[in-house]
């Protein structure tokens, strides 16, 4: 034993023995060590692998590089991407397109979002309870579903395929409206305004209206107050949402792929997708550029807003708030909001649903009504013999895949998130806690599609580590397996899961745990009997939000997907690409129903904040 009598002199040996014992019996150290190893293996190593692949000549490209040998160092992929005759189409034009889309989308969605936020928080708008929920709903529908709905309305005859609703009415929508940047920007704005809305309304709520009243007392007019007092106070929130929207729309894949590829309008993410199929090295290089752009963005965000953020909440928490009367504008504004919600939420859903009942796409007449795409048996004359989704074995398999994926992923991600949250909340002042926090944040920086390609680079082939002549497989080949989908989804959702876990754990005062420690409970007992029961609600609401987010996910897994592992979003995506509009819509509708069902459960039973999953 290491117990010593008081008189015994200091012993270096005992100190060392005790140090070892203290280190390895401290559960915090053990969890942190495991977390660090896993995070390095799942985040840092794949990133490194991807960089390595862009600098290593692949066997398939030997004939393109004179005198090259497989596996040697090369700058071929980077020169091809940046300085070759194809780089204009491969990189520079898509980059320009992406920047235009991201910039415009951010401006449009922030204008909408901030305006709606101001209406909701600062004016006497009627029906606020209804609107506060309805305003968020558009965000629940995945953006690629909205683009499917968009096509259903605006698709014209010039591109081919079944024409849209407007065509049926005899109105030919011009190409620039049906496809390309305008369509993409509109669909993305309808989706992303929710960010600006949430951030700005939170900021507005924290502005004490006494600050504005002070302005009134010294004689400033309403617009002057709005311009000189209110606006500067919420400016940090606006900048924040700008950066957020910008980087999200920069990395998004689904929408530009639905609305751009048909007219050869490429963004950086769709260019990445199509390049990676042909030449991995160049594709990964695009990925890295995308990651770099996102990182710069976040960096600017921290630099720009970090220092100003502090005064965003000056004036305390809310306090009294005097509402601005809208007067005669009240009802027109309500009508406008409702119209907006109709266009953003109801219309896409109705259109998609309606489409599933049309035997021939594009014919909206009653005689064309059918239930074939839901419950019909296979008929070689319709959609290449695809049976109705409910009669289709593959559909049920995809449903099962989807549920399995979201089930596994959300449970594992949430458990990991709570553990990481525990580390973060208990180790704030320690270097290890900070390191874990920073590592976990990395997946947040990386756009989904780039993250997927990172995992492709890492898990394409089995990798061996040679130790003493023994080949030990350290990285298994997971491409095309269910495991890689689970893995990539977990790691990509870790930032959110750990943030949720941290705020959950911070609520549990350390004294409650210390009281258990004094009562003689060891770490496992304390976790099971004290920490977990208290963390349960936060745990479940975090789990539901992750579950929903993964269920809608397309960008992240589209690169890693193999037909047998496909999920519902992927099924809809491939159907739509093959021109099977009705089955695609039917699958989307099924997915909506599932997403809404889980939202309902999350909100009803676990009081999850719907906005929390962003």
């Amino acid at each position: 034993m290491t117990q010593t009598a008081l008189e015994q002199p200091f012993s270096r040996k005992r100190r060392f023995k005790n140090r070892l014992r203290n280190t390895f019996t401290n559960p915090y150290n053990i969890i942190t060590l495991i977390a660090l190893i896993l995070l390095v293996y799942l985040i840092v190593v794949p990133l490194g692998e991807m960089i390595k692949t862009t600098l290593t000549l692949a066997a398939s490209d030997l004939r393109r590089v004179k005198g090259g040998t497989e596996g040697e160092f090369t700058l071929y992929y980077w020169t091809r991407l940046l300085f070759s005759d194809v780089s204009r189409n491969l990189f520079w034009i898509p980059l320009k397109n992406s920047l235009i889309i991201a910039l415009t989308t951010s401006m449009v969605s922030i204008t909408i979002g901030a305006l709606v936020a101001w209406l909701m928080v600062r004016t006497d708008l009627p029906g606020k309870n209804f609107f506060s929920l309805a305003i968020i709903i558009p965000y629940m529908l995945p953006s690629w579903c909205k683009s499917m709905a968009w096509l259903t309305v605006f698709r014209n005859e010039t591109i081919g395929g079944a024409a849209g609703f407007l065509s049926y009415l005899g109105i030919q929508s011009p190409d620039w409206l049906a496809y390309g940047p305008v369509a993409i920007i509109i669909v993305l704005s309808i989706h992303y305004y929710a960010y600006a809305y949430l951030l700005v309304s939170a900021a507005l709520r924290s502005v004490n209206s006494e600050l504005e009243e002070m302005g009134e007392i010294i004689g400033a007019g309403k617009t002057l107050i709005l311009r000189r007092i209110t606006f500067p106070l919420v400016l940090p929130a606006i900048l924040s949402s700008f950066i957020l929207t910008f980087s999200k729309s920069m990395g998004t894949f689904g929408v530009p792929s639905f609305l751009g590829l048909k007219v050869n309008y490429y963004t950086i993410s769709t260019s990445l997708y199509s390049t990676i199929q042909r030449q991995k090295g160049t594709g990964f290089a695009i990925s890295l550029v995308l990651i770099l752009l996102a990182s710069i963005n976040i960096f600017i965000n921290q630099k720009l807003i970090g220092s100003r953020k502090s005064y965003a909440t000056i004036g305390g928490k809310g306090g009294r708030s005097t509402l601005l009367p809208l007067g005669k504008w009240k009802w027109p504004i309500v009508a406008l909001l409702i119209l907006f919600l109709l266009v953003a939420v109801v219309l896409p859903l109705v259109i998609l649903l309606y489409q599933t009942f049309m035997l021939r796409a594009g014919d909206y007449g009653l005689s064309n009504f059918t239930l074939h795409y839901w419950i019909g048996d296979a008929d070689p004359n319709i959609a290449d013999g695809l049976p109705g989704v409910f009669k289709y074995d593959q559909f049920w398999m995809y449903v099962k895949n989807t549920l399995m994926l979201v089930g596994f992923t959300s449970i594992i991600a949430t458990v990991c998130g709570q553990m990481l949250g525990y580390i973060n909340s208990r180790g704030r002042q320690l270097r290890s806690g900070k390191l874990v926090e920073q590592l976990v944040f990395i997946p947040y920086l990386i756009p989904s599609i780039a993250f997927g390609s990172m995992y492709l680079a890492m898990f394409m082939n089995t990798r061996y580590l040679n130790i003493f002549g023994l080949s030990i497989p350290v990285v298994p080949s997971l491409y095309g397996t269910f495991t890689i989908l689970v893995l990539v989804s977990i790691v990509k959702h870790l930032p959110f899961a750990s943030r949720a876990g941290t705020s959950n754990m911070l609520q549990i005062s350390t004294e409650l745990e210390e009281a258990g420690q004094l009562a003689g409970a060891n770490f496992v007992t304390r976790f099971a009997r004290i920490v977990f029961p208290l963390a349960k609600n936060g745990f479940m609401s975090g789990l539901m939000l992750i579950l929903i987010s993964i269920m809608k996910e397309l960008d992240l897994i589209v690169i890693l997907m193999s037909p047998s592992q496909a999920t519902l979003p992927y099924m809809a995506y491939t159907y739509s690409n093959s021109g099977f509009q009705q089955p695609a819509s039917a699958v989307s509708i099924v997915m909506f129903v599932m997403v809404f069902f889980f939202y309902w459960i999350a909100n009803k039973f676990f009081h999850a904040d719907i906005a929390g999953g962003m």
Binding site: T2, Q3, T4, A5, L6, F10, S11, R14, R15, N18, R19, N22, S509, E511, L512, E514, A515, G516, Q517, L518, A519, G520, A521, T525, R529, I530, P533, L534
Partner: protein, 376 residues
Amino acid sequence: MSRIELKNINKYYGSNRVLKDVNLTIEDGEFMTLLGPSGCGKTTTLRVIAGLEKPQSGIITMDGRVIVNGEELFFESPAKRGLNLVFQSYALWPHMTVFDNVAFGLKVAKKSKQEINTLVHSALERMQIDKYAERYPSELSGGQQQRVAIARAIAGSPNLLLLDEPLSNLDAKLRIDMRSELKRLHQEMGTTVIYVTHDQVEALTMSTRIAIFFEGAIEQVAPPMELYQNPASLRVAEFIGNPRINLIDGDAKVENGCMTVTSALGTMVFDKEQFTDATPASSAFSCRVGFRPEQIHISRTEKPGAIKARVYSGMPAGSETLIQLVIGGHNFLGKQVGIRHYRADEEVWLTLDQRLVNVFDSGSGALIKLADTGEF
């Protein structure tokens, strides 16, 4: 029941040294209070004893058994130290009933169901909250929660009971009730108690001894009334007592085993018996004369030997009256029992018993003249 000895305890948070060579012996059965302003290290000391914080150096023994050896990184686990702690926030587990809160430690110790039942109910009865056994903490008032927290700490009959500002969240009336309750509990159980507070009245009324902390170091350890009558330094003198001690600047001269102090209160002469270890053998230096407001006797008529003073303002408060007085530009406070009405600028005559006066060295702040102790 146990005797705790802290030897040269040092604790750092980064480069911030929060405990500086803390030495303290707590005798078996004592009610020791750690007293000091916030951030002085008293709670850290308590948490070091409990095993929730690890000091970088120093040794703690409990009945001769080493439980902490900072240099050798040996820290006995908190559960094996035979103690329990009542947290300032109570730290009751909100998802357990009162019964389960108290029973948790006993369950972890794998006691039989019957034994647990007996022990929990006896603890709850002792704190007079048996009837709330099936309630959840959120269904209890602050005072009741406090009782549950204490019941939880004493259920396992610890040898040492640690209390971290347990009364600071209670309202004034409950605080006085709980004070007497805790004092009784200590006397009935005979357990050694270490009690942390920043409230000097709590410390003075309950403890057998008080350790007073400033900036991470112990300044004085003494029984409560000794601390009040003979504070070891100016800092202690100013911290203990409400209203505060009066301090008036003066000049001291030590000669032939006698100290002569001249101040606005006149000239006082003290002999050797009243000196402390800090009293210099022979020199002249500036000093401060300390006396408590209640030690001044105020008379409205002139008396032989009395000092003339002017009333600045009188503040009757029912049970007592505080009087702000001025002598030659020096302001100080007097206190009388009952209701007195003084006019501003009224002339009064003061007498002060020299035996009760403290004198401090202005330079070092150390006490250099003892006051008589006993009941005054």
